[in-house]
Amino acid sequence: MTAVVTAPTVVERVYAPIHDGLAVAHRNLIALRRVPRLLIFSTVQPLVFILMFRYVFGGVTGRALNGISYVDFMMPGIFVQAAVFGAMNTAIGLATDMQTGLMERFRSLPMARSAVLSGRTLADLTRNVFVVSLMTGVGFALGFRVHTDAWRFLAGVVLVLLFGFAMSWIFATIGMAVGDPETAQAAAFPMLVPLVFASSAFVPVATMPGWLQAFANNQPVSATVEAVRTLVLGGPAASLVWQALAWDAGIVAVFAPLGVWLYRRAV
């Protein structure tokens, strides 16, 4: 048997990562459907958060909120925190992937080296669509109201999903770096907590001590929350949206190559 092999063309080089990433994402989504507890537990946490924040802090009013009801104030924060905590699953999922024998075969296949990571982040993006839809329903049931219009709300949801996708790449890299699911979880959690809580997600930054404000005002969770909040509650949003998008783009630009580099090295 003679085999004629030609070097991959430019089209193949561009097309391959997309094609292979989608194939791996499809595999991950089948697993998600077949092991529904993964999906259930990734929705339970955000729902618990909605309920807790709605009723524990729901009575908070005051000048800091500019007369907005707390439930309307917090919902954008809740959406964003769900996307961020959801990214922890990316680290766990990828670390779990790396321990399966399937990776051994993947390395011997003519598939894009990025596909295992992009397949995981794309699958988690799809899962986030489901989680965010569910949260929207629950939020409305608990009294959340959009002050602007459906399009701006939709734009806010897209921003949340994009941010979740960007965070997935950070945590994919962490999952690759630590290599086992337990460590991935242990490593991810303490990184997420300050990002989420030292932000404008649940309380106005102005109420924090000065040194913390410096951090809270200059990190991606706040940037995304501010953009989504402005989209949903009203006000000029364009520059905030661009800032949030810049964070997303910057994060992916740094962590996607880093994660793929780690994948190439890890055996």
Binding site: V5, A31, G101, R107, S108
Partner: protein, 316 residues
């Protein structure tokens, strides 16, 4: 490229920290043949396969598949090979069909070929009945068969099988052997590792015996046997005490000490039938009648013993 050997390995080494998994191996596999890599646990078989399938890089030396260097042109090599590794590399949450389709997509099979190819392989590997069940519900042998099937999805010209029949029942093993012979007729080159000596003997055109990261023999199985082979006589004396007694008798009367293993005595000689008569004579007078007598041509197991001074650890 057409005349390049399917696999060419020279001076290949691999170190993991202090461990030298491969201490410089050389071999060549012509296209359309089966090459057997035979060795005990830890010999370096899997390491050699992982280098040849671009999973890990060699520490030094060269390895080529159909003329393409595995370290320099891994992307090209990956399009020429199929791998069934030592551990089942299939997704437990997917069905067999979904697993095969996934591999098909990742090896760039045209979309319209995905379903027919999966169906063909499910048929060939006797997995039709379980095809649409998640693989986590499979038995070890079924998983193993799926794993080998997955290696064949893209109909690669060079196939690597790392202990392909480990964990298979005799029937599945026979079926896999038949399949390998079929692939061979179609021109595929196969490199397989095994601890089952019988397997290398039956399938391979050429066998390399590997021990502690070095190739200690490389020849046609028949030649190996001829070079080192003898007729082996095995006497089962029933129990250890009788075996010891018989061993003493044989030693004093024939001036040669049989090998002893529990109740078994083992002797080997180029002229087996003569030896057998002598042994019977030596034991006759004292009523030391063996329970059973086995006379056989030396197997690769015996070859291994002769080459290394120790037996392979796992024989079927």
């Amino acid at each position: 490229m057409h005349d390049a050997p399917a696999i060419a390995v020279s001076g290949l080494t691999k170190r993991f920290g202090d461990v030298t998994a491969l201490g410089g191996i050389d071999f060549e596999v012509p296209q359309g043949t089966v090459f057997g890599l035979l060795g005990p646990n830890g010999a370096g078989k899997t390491t050699a396969i992982r280098i040849l399938t671009t999973i890990i890089r060699p520490s030094s030396g060269r390895a080529e598949v159909l003329g393409h260097d595995v370290a320099e042109e891994p992307a090209t090599v990956r399009r020429l090979i199929g791998l069934a590794g030592q551990n089942a590399a299939v997704d437990p949450n997917l069905t067999a069909r979904e697993n095969l389709r996934l591999i098909g997509r990742l090896t760039r099979l045209p979309a319209r070929r995905l379903d027919p190819r999966a169906a063909e392989l499910l048929e060939q590997f006797d997995l039709v009945a379980a095809a649409d069940r998640p693989v986590r519900t499979y038995s070890g042998g079924m998983r193993r068969r799926l794993d080998v099937a997955a290696a064949l999805v893209s109909e690669p010209p060079v196939l690597f099988l790392d202990e392909p029949t480990t964990g298979l029942d005799p029937q599945s093993r026979g079926a896999l052997w038949e399949l390998i012979r079929q692939l061979l007729r179609e021109g595929t080159t196969v490199l397989l590792t095994t601890q089952y000596l019988e397997e290398a003997d039956r399938l391979a055109n050429r066998v390399a015996v590997i021990d502690e990261g070095r190739i200690i023999a490389d020849d046609a199985p028949g030649v190996l046997k001829e070079r080192l082979g003898q007729t082996v006589i095995e006497l089962d004396m029933g129990d250890e005490a009788r075996a010891a007694e018989a061993a003493t008798l044989i030693t004093t009367r024939l001036q040669r000490a049989p090998g002893r293993e529990g109740p078994l005595l083992r002797l080997a000689a180029p002229d087996g039938s003569m030896l057998l008569m002598d042994v019977m004579h030596a034991l006759e007078g004292d009523g030391m009648v063996p329970r059973t007598i086995a006379v056989r041509e030396s197997s690769l197991d015996d070859v291994f013993l002769a080459l290394t001074g120790h037996r392979t650890e796992d024989t079927p």
